[in-house]
Structure formats: C-alpha cells, structure tokens
Amino acid sequence: MTIPDSGENPRMALAAAARKGGMAWFAGKKASPYLFLLPFMIIYVVLILYPIFQGLYVSLTDWDMMNPVKPFVGLKNFEYLFFGDPLFWNSVKVTLQYIFTNVPIKVVLGLALALIFNQKLPGMAFHRGALFLPFVINIAAVGILFQWILDPEVGLLNYYLSMLGLPPQKWLVDPTWTMDLVVLVTIWWSIAFNVIVFLAGLQDIPEELYEAARIDGANAWHRFWNVTLPCLRGSMMFVVVMQIIGSFQAFGNIYMLTGGGPNNATNVLMVHLYKTGFFYFQMGPAAAIGVIIFIIVMALTIAVLAMFRKQVEY
C-alpha cells in the first residue's frame, strides 16, 4: 500500500532540477530534517518507547517503592500472577468477556447506525448531533450519570419499569448483568466513533458502483453485501483493530460505573493493574500485567491486520 505523492507538476520538476544542480544552501542543511524531528523524537522515545522497556524491566524485579534496592527476580512476578494472584485469571476471563461482547456489538451496531445516518432524512443534522453528544461527555460524568439512572432504590429506570408493572432490577448490584450494563453504557457513550468512521467510508463509495449493481438487478441486500461491505473493508479493519485495542485499554467506563465489582464481575485487566499498582503498590506485578496486556494487544493487532490483508488483496 503506497501513499500517492501529490503528483507531478512542471514547477516542481523545475525545483527538483534546481536541487540536483547542487544549491549550496541545501547541501549545508543536511542536518535539518533531524533537527525538525528532534523534539518529537526525544519525547516519543523517552516517554512512550522507553517506558515499554522500563516496564518490562520493572516486571522482572521486586520493586518496592520504599526500598532503593530493586533485586532482579526473573519471572517471579509473572509466576505470582499466574499461580499466586487471587484475581488475575478472573480478570483475564472478564476482559475476554468484555471484548467478545463489546467489539462485535459495537462494530455491527456502528455499521447499522452509519447506514441509517447516511440516508437523507429530515432533521438529520439534529439526529447526528444527538448521537455524537455523549461521545464528548467526560467518562467520569457518564459514570456518575448512569449510577444515578441505574440506582436500584432511587433510579429513574426502575421507576419506569415499575410503571410498566415490571419488578425492579438490581442493575449494577447483580454480578450476572453488570458486564452487559457496562457494555450498554459504553455503547451509549462511544458508538459515535464507529459511526463516524463508517460514515466516512460510506461517503467515499462511488455512486456508480451502486448504479451498476442496480442495473444488474441487485436488490438492497445484495447491494449491501456485494458493494457496500467490500468497499468498507478499510474502515472495517480500522474499527475492529481500534475496538480491540480500546477494549484492552478500557478503564474509566468500567471503573466509574462499578469499580470492578460486584464480586469482581467487571474487574478487567486494566482495573486489576490499577488496583495492584496504585491501591496496593505492588509495582512488579502491576508492571507484569502491563507487559501481558501489551503483548496480547500487539499480537491481536498484527493478527487482525494479517487476516484482513489475506482476505482482501491490498
């Protein structure tokens, strides 16, 4: 996949010739691209790349914050997570549960909504605004709002359920349903992202393709299946990858609603990392969880990219 350059034009060719002619000022500025890159690279290397390796190192030590000596302990922290940590495997299970509900629902629903929002209907600007509004609301505010709405005693939702003659629900108190509620709230909060990406993809599909399909007698379903979906493969890949990465990163939407409970039903890896590191100050195991998340995300991202690339020749 090459990125097309901005195209040839005569003046540029002229300038290129001037460059080749060995303009003195240019020769002296060989260092300039590196100078331009310097500020970015410093921050990038020190605060994004280096911490990954530092995290790996911390995960191999017995890192006591109060002790200046940090003895190297090999894989002991990982051993602790796998065989000693009371909650690690629960967190893995719960994270997978979150991903397997969150990702497919949000991808399918995002596409469906994008198809609806791509129609020309009265008041569309308003409806789009309504859809996008929750997306800019602070996750902490979202968490508070839904704690209020879902409160089993005084919440709005149970009131309207009782109006319909239904029994009041325990909502976030019942571990059976908490994860589903978290996913529902997450959809409310962030589905707009997927819709926007799909909408952009839809608008880039040339109308002629639909015309051609129509002439061939394809019905709406066939047109969707044979034109829309294949044309959206780029957006689809992007959304799926982003959703997977995002689901591993998910913290605020879960922590602010449930704090990881009840009965650890929503204690995903990220929440577990936070508690291990910053509630209980077990930095070694916390760094080890970080390393594990990093490896899984990298592997999954590469797998998804490879899968899509195999399926559609890029």
Binding site: A15, P33, I43, G55, L273
Partner: protein, 300 residues
C-alpha cells in the same frame, strides 16, 4: 391499434408499479425516520435527565414520580459544586483542566508539525525507519506504560505537576501521521518557489505549510483538546494533591462524597459543569472533529 392497446396497458402497469414503489419508499422512509427518532431519544434522554437533575434542589431530588421539569429550579447545585470545600472545588479543577488542555494542544501542534514536515517533504537517511517507528506508536496502548511512567516521574520529582500530564501526550504518533497526510497533499510549487527565494526550511514550515494545513491542524487541535480534557486514568494516578486534580478526577471524588449524602443534584451539576466546555468546543468545531476521527482517530 392492437399494439397501441398493449402499449397503453403496459404503461398503466408500470405507472402503477412506480406509484406503489414510491408509496413503499415513503413508508420505508417513515419507518426509518421513526427508528432514527427512537435512536436520538435513547442518546438524548440521559443527558436531559442529567441537566434536569442539576437544577433540582437536593432535598426534593428523590421525588417520585420523577419530574422532568424541576418544580422549583435552582442554581444552588452549581454554586455548591464549584465552591465546595469538601475536596478542591470544581472551579479549580476546571482551571487545571483548561490549562493542561490548552498547553497540550499548543505543544502537540508544534512538536508534531515539526516532526511531520521532514517526513512529508524531505529525503534523508532513516526516513522510512523513523516513520515505521511512529506507526508502531499508534498501536501501543499508553496505559501499559503507566506503571513505569509513574516510577519515572517519581524519580525526577515530577509527580503531581502539570508537566506530567502535558508531556506524555505531546508526542502523538497520531498527530504526526495526520499532519504528514495533510502536508503531503499541499502542492509543492509554493514551497519550491520560496526555497528558490532562499527561505529557510523553518520559515517555509511556519509561513507556507502550516497556514495551508489549517484544516489538519484544527482537526488535531480539537482532537487533542478533547483527549486531554477527558483523560482519566493517567491524571488519576499522577495527581496526588486535590488542588492539582483535573475535572474527571475531581468528579470521581465527588461521586464518593456527594452520592453518600444523596446530593444527586450537586453531582449532576458537577457533571454538567465538566461537560459544558467540551460540548461547546464540539458544537463549534463539529466538522473538524468529525473529520479528525474520520481520517484516523483513537478512542475506546
């Protein structure tokens, strides 16, 4: 005559067919519109309830049946949320968040556009390698580095500082990637002319490239602003003094405190207060915002 008749019959049926097709399409559109309205209601009602509650006095906030229009609307909740002395007030948190977000936006635009320029416009050794390095950054979930970042900032005594919130976000691989796309699309002729006139690379970037890449810059600016404003986990970890906490973190502390005393009105006022600025930014720059996501974009 016979031919004419059959033709007429055919025309009539096709007319009937189109008419029924049009009617069917009208019905379809009506159904679609109804679905759309339901969707909007689903997305808007919670926000509305948040706003309503924020104007309801705390002593009647548990009123049954729920009142969508408060009987005696009050601004008391907002005053309480902003001036409360339980934790740092929301006013202080709003100022912190604004400061951090604005500084982050400025620094990000500067650093990222400077990095994107040579990647888009110059040929030099290691360009491809550096670009791939940037792309790798797009796939790293920042959260996995928080433990080591925390330890690093602790080692240099930068916990609980604005820098600790601003710097890690400033070198945004996404920003470089986005700006590079915009820079590459700018025709080279203007720049080449300037170069022949003897302009330095730096001047070219600031006087020619950046003004032309305004849509890209504004998209990145809005995106960075919202990202910074809504950043939750990192400030939660790194800010230890209530007076330094940003809006989302303060909100988290509000929940614990005000929900226990059942002051849902105050909580909702705080939530609304935390939301106003991003919503305004969103409404003004909706187009750029949507574009910034449509082009690439990162969010759970």
């Amino acid at each position: 005559m016979k031919l004419n008749n059959s033709l007429r019959a055919e025309m009539a049926t096709s007319e009937r067919r189109t008419r029924s097709a049009i009617r069917w399409r009208h019905i379809q559109r009506l159904i679609l519109w109804l679905v759309l309205t339901l969707i909007s209601v689903f997305f808007l009602l919670p926000v509305l309830w948040m706003i309503t509650t924020s104007f309801t006095p705390n002593n009647v906030v548990l009123h049954y049946p729920p009142r969508w229009i408060p009987a005696s609307p009050t601004l008391q909740n907002y005053t309480e949320a902003i001036t409360t002395t339980r934790t740092a007030g929301l006013g202080r948190a709003l100022a912190n968040s604004t400061l951090v977000a604005v500084a982050t936006v400025i620094l990000t635009l500067l650093v990222d556009s400077m990095a994107a320029y040579p990647l888009a416009r110059m040929n030099f050794k290691g360009k491809k390698g550096i670009f791939i390095l940037v792309l790798v950054g797009l796939m790293v979930p920042a959260e996995v580095t928080f433990v080591s970042l925390f330890l690093m900032f602790n080692a240099v005594g930068w916990l609980n500082s604005y820098e600790s919130l601003i710097l890690p976000v400033a070198a945004s691989p996404f920003g470089v990637f986005l700006l590079r796309q915009f820079f590459m699309a700018i025709p080279r002729d203007l720049e080449d002319a300037a170069r022949i006139d003897g302009c330095s690379r730096m001047r070219i970037l600031f006087t020619i490239i950046l003004p032309l890449a305004k849509p890209g810059l504004s998209a990145l600016a809005i995106f960075t602003f919202l990202l910074s404003w809504n950043n939750f986990l990192w400030p939660l970890i790194v800010m230890t003094d209530p007076n330094m906490m940003t809006v989302p973190v303060i909100l988290a502390y509000y929940v614990a405190s005000f929900a226990q005393s059942l002051d849902w009105g105050t909580l909702m006022a705080a939530a609304v207060g935390a939301t106003i600025l991003p919503v305004i930014v969103f409404l003004i720059f909706q187009k750029q915002f949507v574009r910034s996501i449509a082009t690439t974009g990162l969010k759970g």
